[in-house]
Amino acid sequence: MFVAFSRIIKYGFQNFLRNGWLSTATIAVIFLTLFVLQGLIIFNVVAKTAIASVQNKIDISVYFKSNAAEDAILKLQKSLEGLSEVKKAEYISREKALTEFQARRKNDPIVIAAIQELGENPLLASLNIKAYNPKEYAAISAYLNNESLSSIIEKVSYAQNQVVIERLINIVDAAKRGGIVLTFIIAIIAILVTFNTIRLAIYSNKDAIGIMRLVGASNNFIRGPYIIEGILYGILAGVLSFAIFAPLVAYIAPHVASFIPEINLQNYFAANFLRLLSYQLIFGIALSSISSFVAVHRYLKV
């Protein structure tokens, strides 16, 4: 048993080394597969952050009549925050709104002058509401349109922004769905290409497998070395793909960050180093050894 096992391992390495070119070409293909899959993982992380960042920018504001009592507004804030859909309801008083407005327009002397001319604060107090899910804004808006609140509420921004919000919701949904479909398709293509490469490599051993059967070798003794070879392919391709990916991530991280400031790819990569590396190795080894197993199986029927 042990003798057979050690011979299987020996032949696995021997075939691997003697078929240098074939091994190199196969590793190159598995490397590309793993590289693409690694890219998909990173792409999904970036896309998720980007989608979250877009979602975060969606909110609605409730503007209160200038004579609305602050107590009533704070009471409404409390009750809004009590809703399970609401993530945050931020109160912006008239004074705060004015200060922020002035700060935003400080380079615009005409506007500043106009406000000073006016003599009183033209801005309204508001509550800025963020929901966990952008789809909830319609419900929140309906809640605010309640009769009992109409005495203090001037307007709800949802009405003006409804179209934009719905469009954003659609875009976010499409991006999520697209990401999943894209990942799925590319992963399937990569896996099929690898499988076919290994199948071709083993096809060239078709006669040898038949000869081994005729000499009286058991299926495991024939199959074993090919699976060892597959494992070697997987390990080498995994390590290679990771070694090339790491500096690449360091290089593109600042560019990605300039689009989506929320993400630091390099930190993500460093924090998930072991996890990503083991994904590569496990996937590489599983893909190539299972492909080898299936490919050899066809020719064992002698």
Partner: protein, 233 residues
Amino acid sequence: MNASNMITFQNITKTYNKHSTALENVSFKINPKEFVSIVGRSGSGKSTIVKLITAEEKPTNGRIIFDSYEVNKLRFSQLPKYRRLIGTIFQDFRLLNGKTVFENIAFALEVEGRPQKEINEFVPQILNLVGLDNKMQSFPYELSGGEKQRVAIARAMINQPEVIVADEPTGNLDPFNTWEIIKLLMKLNEMGSIIILATHNKEIINTLGHRVITLNNGKIIRDEEHGRFILTN
């Protein structure tokens, strides 16, 4: 006579599809230590007999008995062990091209799980016997046809099989190498193995003077103790 290591074909019929019958109701017995030649034109069924013995094919009808095995009933998982009783030699040599001469022969012992010490001892002895002890580390592509066939014979005989089946072993060889191979087969026969030689080389058959089974269109038309190469009825 030990009945157990006889080879018996009982009413064997083999059809590959309904338009071609390779063998029709063929029966014969081969006794221990016999040297039997099977002759016939291409397509007469010689190779089918070889494939039935090595269990590459199963008969459509009939029984094949060899050793303690009823060959026609062997399950797939039993084939490796059964095949270790048989040494096979083919026209196209069928060596493992990725392995050296030494490894090709060692492989036949490795499949049985024999220890490395025995392998290191036996393989050079056998190679010496077939005159290739200086080619131990060569790969098959570095050998001539005659040398390849001698490697194949060495592989077939290394685990002292009860029977050696040779399907046109000299088909790709020049006359000189042909006789070298035949002499080796005769030597193996003297050492106690059954030899089954399928060939259409008239000269060999007529010189050997052993038993000859003649096939025509899947039927045995002649089975003579000291046969000659005659294909017509």
